[in-house]
Amino acid sequence: MLEKALKGSPRYWGTLIALGLVMALGLGFWLYQLTFGMKITGLNRDVSWGFYIAQFTYLVGVAASAVMLVLPYYFHHYKEFSKMIILGEFLAIAAVVMCLGFIVVDIGQPQRMMNVLLNSTPHSVLFWDMVVLNGYLFLNIIVGWTSLQYFKNDMTPPKWVKILAIVSVIWAFSIHTVTAFLYAGLPGRHYFLTAIMAARFLASAFCSGPAILLLLVLCLRRLTGFDPGQKAINRLAVIITYAMCVNIFFFLLEVFTSFYSNMPGHIAPFKYLFTGIDGHDMMVPFMWTAVVLGLGCLLFLIPTPIRQNNTALTIGLVMLVIASWIDKGLGLLIGGFTPNPFETVTVYSPTVPEIMISLMIFSLGGIVLTVLWKIAIEVRCEVEGGNLSMVPPPAE
């Protein structure tokens, strides 16, 4: 099936080349980091994790996009998702590849990375995170690729694929839980130290992951005419809406516990993020943007007639993605490390090289996704006899 990725329209190659160029540019900055060390980042002694690890955390959530399709499809026989399911699995692969990429660029001695295997340490959550992330990657590659192959040959996938798909659903919960445990077990980091962290991770993953998937699918429909079915789109939008409501609810639970208990350590990160401390208010505009967009997206998503309008849905989803990204891909890490252990503020903001290196990894993910989705769509095209990748956008 890989040969399907080798032939394509100029638009397909253009996309790949553009992503490749961004990646090459980012690669230059990565070489710069490898030569001079992480001093080129905005990280410091007090905020020792930043943009890279935050993107890693956010993308673990995106990897969940598959599970919100696989679960209804395999557990509840919701067949409407059959066309989209492969896209979800392939998006999960791209997301996990990006997660691993962000870990590689974040560590100070990447050539020693295999030490994590050589000196396996079960009491370190990072060890388990490595296990579950790689496991999830392989599960999705195996399940996605095999079921696509059987679909291509017009055969029902074997039973073991179904079993692995069910395992991957349960496994998906583990990647969020273990990633949350990276943070939730640290004494002295009050913004992280909360029992609801894993639940928050699941909620934010189950809204932001499928939201990104749905946005990409809507985009795909315009570009290639691939149609997952309006029913599937509507149903996924409902799932996203519920997850976002739960996500916001969980965040408000944190706010209640911190402020009603009046525990200074628990209040301080909220203060830093939403009002600033000692005049350090860099995060304030971001966090309030997240609040406005997070609540605002519900206005587009909750009322059924608005949600079922694809333009309104797109706006709502974009708002949701931005809000959840600020919350998890920016605020979570920075809030966790500020104030520092001395209850003073050391400001962190990502530098240009840091952002360029991140773009390199996003482009890598983009390339993986483009190639995989191209294969999936070509296969569907071939089976159903259409020429989906070349047809002009359908008139709506």
């Binding site: 001079f36 060390g37 992480m38 001093k39 980042t41 990280l43 410091n44 002694r45 007090d46 020792s48 994790w49 870990i103 974040d106 560590i107 100070g108 001695q109 990447p110 020693r112 990375m113 030490n115 994590v116 050589l118 000196n119 340490t121 009491h123 370190s124 959550v125 990072l126 060890f127 490595m130 990276l182 943070y183 077990g185 640290l186 004494p187 002295g188 980091r189 200074p264 350590g265 000692d278 966790g336 490390f337 520092n340 252990p341 001395f342 209850e343 003073t344 050391t346």
Partner: protein, 258 residues
């Protein structure tokens, strides 16, 4: 709280310069370090304990003394002198609010408010850094010392997130150009690894006390916490001492006598 800290650092820098000049003589190129290479006989006289700990007579630790200890420590261990938030430090000083941020002491006695407290790795009994390290690069020795194996560190900085005391520093860059006073008998670090105070494990091994204790003129008491007859237990028996953030559950081995 910011301005206090800056003032202290300035003071520390000035006194460090003074001490440095005295030690170096007149900018001579003779090495600042004139220790001889430790021999097998030295290593056979290593100090042993069940649980090393430190008690600090904070009232005796003047800012000058603090700077002297810092200088001794940073010279012994080739700690680079890097300015700004990417700094590396094993031994430093801070005010009461920063040292004991969970105490929130209103109406502090003026003397305590202006006291500089020495900060270093707490060598916790239940160290979080050891628990989170994915490669056992940070590990705990049977005598309680929390050690770094720099050969093994992958630089993931999970330990820095885990430490509730901000005791750890990361080498964001090659530290060697920033080493001001150099000890050829102790290795430097490479970039990309985390470092912190090691309770002078290399000196204990040759029968010497930690270099800060030696420099502190009696303000720092070092010894075996599990030996009731030790000096440190005597000091703790006779004086009221607190530890930093005991509610973080890591059980520090460094005690502050107020």
């Amino acid at each position: 709280m910011k301005s206090n800290r800056r003032e202290f650092l300035k003071l520390a820098a000035v006194s460090a310069m003074g001490i440095g000049a005295a030690r170096l003589g007149f900018l001579g190129d003779a090495p600042a370090f004139a220790e001889s290479v430790p021999t097998v006989a030295n290593f056979e006289e290593g100090l042993k304990a069940k649980h090393w700990g430190m008690a600090i007579f904070t009232a005796k630790m003047t800012p000058e003394l603090n700077a002297k200890c810092r200088k001794a420590c940073h010279t012994e261990h080739n700690v680079p002198d890097i300015a700004g938030p990417k700094e590396i430090k094993w031994f430093w000083g801070a005010n009461y609010e920063e040292t004991f941020p969970t105490e929130h002491g209103h109406y502090l006695s003026e003397e305590i408010e202006h006291r500089q407290f020495p900060l270093l790795c707490n060598q916790c009994e239940a160290p979080m850094c050891v628990k989170v390290c994915p490669t056992q690069a940070t590990f705990q020795r049977p005598d309680g010392i929390v050690m770094m194996d720099f050969h093994r560190c992958i630089g993931c900085r999970y330990c820095m997130a885990g430490c509730p005391f901000g005791a750890r520093s990361f080498n964001f860059q090659d530290p060697r150009p920033f080493i001001k006073s150099f000890n050829p008998l102790f290795p430097t670090r490479m970039r990309g690894v985390v470092e912190k105070c090691n309770f002078c494990a290399e000196r204990l091994a040759i029968g010497k006390l930690p270099v800060c204790v030696e420099a502190a003129e009696g303000a720092l008491v070092f010894g075996d916490l599990s030996d009731e007859q030790s000096d440190i237990r005597k000091a703790l028996r006779e004086h009221f001492a607190i530890r930093r953030k005991p509610d973080a559950g890591t059980s520090p081995s460094v005690y502050y006598i107020l």
